[in-house]
């Protein structure tokens, strides 16, 4: 207990660690909040206004898009704001190409689709943002499944609308085949906040930055890495005991940091994580465990000085977080479409996905699936690290 308390103090007083693992995520969260605006964060997700320019026969496409849209009114070539309360993804406006261009410039619509046939559809956007990427994702999904859609449409045109629903589910990263029951309001968006992805990724980053603690711990434990390591290895206390104490102290501090971050995000910034805070803390605990494992692994396996190890660790963490949507909120979905396997092994993506699943699904199965995968990754890394740390003697000091 005494050694644990000393380690706790040693870590708490290391200001640079506290900055990166607690202050930095809070600052970044505040910046996200400032950038996206308080109103936007609190707004319900509204339908995306999209222009549709039809210049050919595209019955299947029209049937699909109508299934997830309401039709907006067009007056004198201008798209009018829809007041419909229907749960749909898009408000579509049938426009000519010239009208669509003008409306896009005025931002009355966020994108328009130029449709020559069911197969030949081009998307035009004015700027690249999360909204345009949702439209793009829809179109990509449509194109990817076009042959199946056409077949279904030919056999039973009424089912085309349901296909649209399926595509919409995929846009949020989950297909009906893989997961259980979708909550209607989450899918259609009344409570969906497109910017929440950034906060999920931010919490994932906070968890993974815990690797800095364990890397410090490893450095102070290994005789070939520090004078402290020499002294500790020369002592009659088992190395695994010291490692366990170091890790427990690091996990304690990180968990407290995560709780503080949640209190700040929810209490001060009023970010709506959709309740289920206990599950989010469970996920964060698993995330911290993996973050520590990554730090231990890099600290043990990578040869060289601390700066090199810290550099590699930062690069790994930031890459993982980037692909989980820290720098671009829709990245998680893009990865889901193009490299879904990476989302299954990327710890940051697993953390963010678990938070998504809490917000979207009634079932906790997808959530716990992500927790289990995370724990497996952490344990595999730990087994490798411990196998090396346990070695009896060093080749050089």
């Amino acid at each position: 207990m005494r050694l644990y308390l000393y380690h706790l103090k040693n870590l708490i007083k290391t200001k640079e660690l506290l900055f990166w693992t607690m202050a930095f995520p809070i600052i970044l969260g505040t910046l996200f909040f400032a950038a996206f605006g308080n109103a936007k964060m609190e707004d319900n997700f509204s339908r995306i206004p999209v222009g549709v320019v039809i210049e050919g026969q595209a019955d299947a496409f029209e049937a699909v898009i109508k299934g997830i849209s309401v039709e907006g009114e067009v007056k004198n070539g201008k798209a009018l704001k829809s007041n419909s309360k229907k749960d749909t993804l898009f408000t579509i406006y049938y426009l000519s190409k010239e009208e669509a261009k003008k409306e896009l410039k005025k931002e009355s619509i966020k994108a328009y689709m130029f449709v020559k046939s069911d197969e030949d559809i081009t998307l035009f956007v004015d700027k690249s943002d999360i909204i345009s990427s949702i439209v793009e994702t829809f179109l990509n999904e449509y194109k990817a499944q076009m042959s199946a859609i056409q077949m279904i449409f030919e056999e039973n045109p009424e089912r085309a609308a349901k296909i649209g629903q399926k595509l919409m589910n995929k846009i949020y990263g989950k297909s009906e085949e893989n997961f259980i029951v979708l909550k209607e309001e989450s899918v259609s968006g009344d409570k969906y906040n497109p910017y929440i992805n950034y906060f999920y990724a931010l919490i994932a980053m906070t968890c993974l930055f815990g690797s800095m603690f364990s890397q410090k711990g490893i450095k102070e434990l290994q005789a070939d890495q520090s004078a402290l390591g020499v002294r500790r290895n020369a002592a009659p206390t088992k190395k695994m005991t010291m490692l366990f104490i170091d890790v427990m102290a690091a996990l304690t501090i990180q968990f407290v940091e995560i709780v503080i971050a949640f209190i700040y995000f929810i209490g001060i910034l009023k970010i709506d994580f959709g309740g289920k805070i206990v599950y989010m803390l469970i996920m964060s605990a698993a995330g911290i465990y993996v973050g520590n494992s990554i730090g231990m692994f890099i600290g043990t396996v990578v040869k060289g000085n601390s700066a090199k190890k810290e550099g590699i660790m930062l690069a790994v963490n930031l890459l993982c977080c980037h692909f989980a949507g820290l720098m671009f909120g829709d990245m998680l979905n893009i990865m889901e479409q193009h490299a879904p396997w990476f989302n299954r092994i990327n710890p940051a993506a697993l953390i963010a996905n678990a938070f998504h699943s809490l917000a979207i699904y009634n079932s906790l199965e997808p959530f716990f699936m992500n927790v289990v995968i995370l724990l497996i990754i952490g344990t595999v890394l730990n087994v490798f690290s411990i196998a090396i740390i346990r070695r009896k003697k060093y080749a050089s000091i």
């Binding site: 005494r2 000393y6 103090k9 005789a223 002294r231 002592a235 009659p236 009896k392 060093y394």
Partner: protein, 312 residues
């Protein structure tokens, strides 16, 4: 007196480089044993092998009569280690650091508290108990480093260059402390490349170079191993070849260097070397300045055996 450390035929290679080359040492209880050698001679490597931290290619090492292994916790309990680099936690106070490291050896809280207090007293850091290491001067930091290694009252204390980058006053305090620890019953192994320190505190010395013991014994025994008995240095300008040749002819002459008007003559053991040399210079009517005579140092031992200075 029993043998505390026995190193037999120790070999340690780093690839093609032989760091320790069939090294043999036996250290007796109560000794202050000095390992003297230049940087890179293998002193620290020997210590790391002795602590069972480093893999070695060949040889046997026993401490208190038992082979030492990484899990020889009972043996390690009686060893104190003070390494060249200060090994303390930056974010713990002086007292907490000593308590932490003492706690790795002593579990009993009451006993530990007493030992920590004694260690603080011993290194005279009482008024700095609540200080963090970064607030301490270099000398005080070294004393804290020592306190962390000796607080548990080990029977064998290994000090690997503990005075590197320490001011003379702190150095003297550290050396006095080591003597005191020895008087209290601890066996000391002291490595250094400062021959003055080794001469000052060690009862027996091993001079090592390139991983080999090149001289072993008391300082007198080591010095007796070489030819040089006395080195006389004279500040004398303008000596010619003939005069230098005459100096070579003086009794007990061994070696001579003449550079930048400084004449350095080494004589083998024998009496009246200084008088003879000065008489010759007077006879030749040669003006000379500063003159001094030195008995051989451990550096001379090293120089004569290896052909290079200890501090090369």
């Amino acid at each position: 007196m029993s043998t505390v450390v026995k190193i037999e035929n120790l070999v340690k290679r780093y690839g093609d480089l032989v760091a320790i080359d069939h090294l043999n040492l036996e250290i007796q209880e109560g000794e202050v044993f000095g390992l003297l050698g230049p940087n890179g001679s293998g002193k620290s490597t020997t210590i790391h092998c002795l602590l069972a931290l480093l893999q070695y290619n060949k040889g046997n090492i026993s401490v208190f009569g038992q082979e030492i292994r990484p899990d020889s916790y009972d043996l390690k309990r009686d060893i104190g280690v003070i390494m060249q680099n200060v090994a303390v936690f930056e974010k713990l106070t002086v007292e907490e650091n000593i308590d932490y490291f003492c706690g790795l050896y002593i579990k009993n809280k009451k006993k530990r508290k007493k030992l920590v207090d004694e260690a603080i007293e011993f290194v005279e850091l009482n008024e700095f108990r609540k200080y963090y290491p970064k607030k301490l001067s270099g000398g005080l930091l070294r004393r804290l480093n020592i306190a962390c290694g000796i607080a548990h009252k080990p029977k064998l204390i290994i000090l690997d260059e503990p005075t590197v980058a320490v001011d003379p006053q702190s150095r003297n305090k550290i050396l006095e402390g080591i003597k005191k620890l020895n008087e209290e019953g601890a066996t000391i192994i002291y490595t250094s490349h400062y021959m003055e320190e080794i001469e000052q505190i060690c009862t027996r010395i091993a001079i090592i170079d390139k991983g080999k013991v090149i001289a072993l014994g008391t300082k007198e025994e080591c010095k007796a191993m070489i030819k040089t008995g006395e080195t006389i240095t004279v500040d004398v300008p303008g000596l010619n070849g003939e005069q230098l040749k005459s100096i070579e002819g003086l009794p007990h002459f061994y070696k001579m260097e003449y550079e930048n008007s400084i004449l350095k003559v080494r004589f083998e053991k024998g009496k009246h070397n200084l008088i003879r040399l000065l008489d010759y210079l007077k006879e030749q009517d040669i003006d000379f300045g500063r003159v001094y005579s030195e008995v051989p140092s451990l550096n001379d031992v090293f120089l004569e055996i290896t052909g290079k200075e200890l501090r090369d």
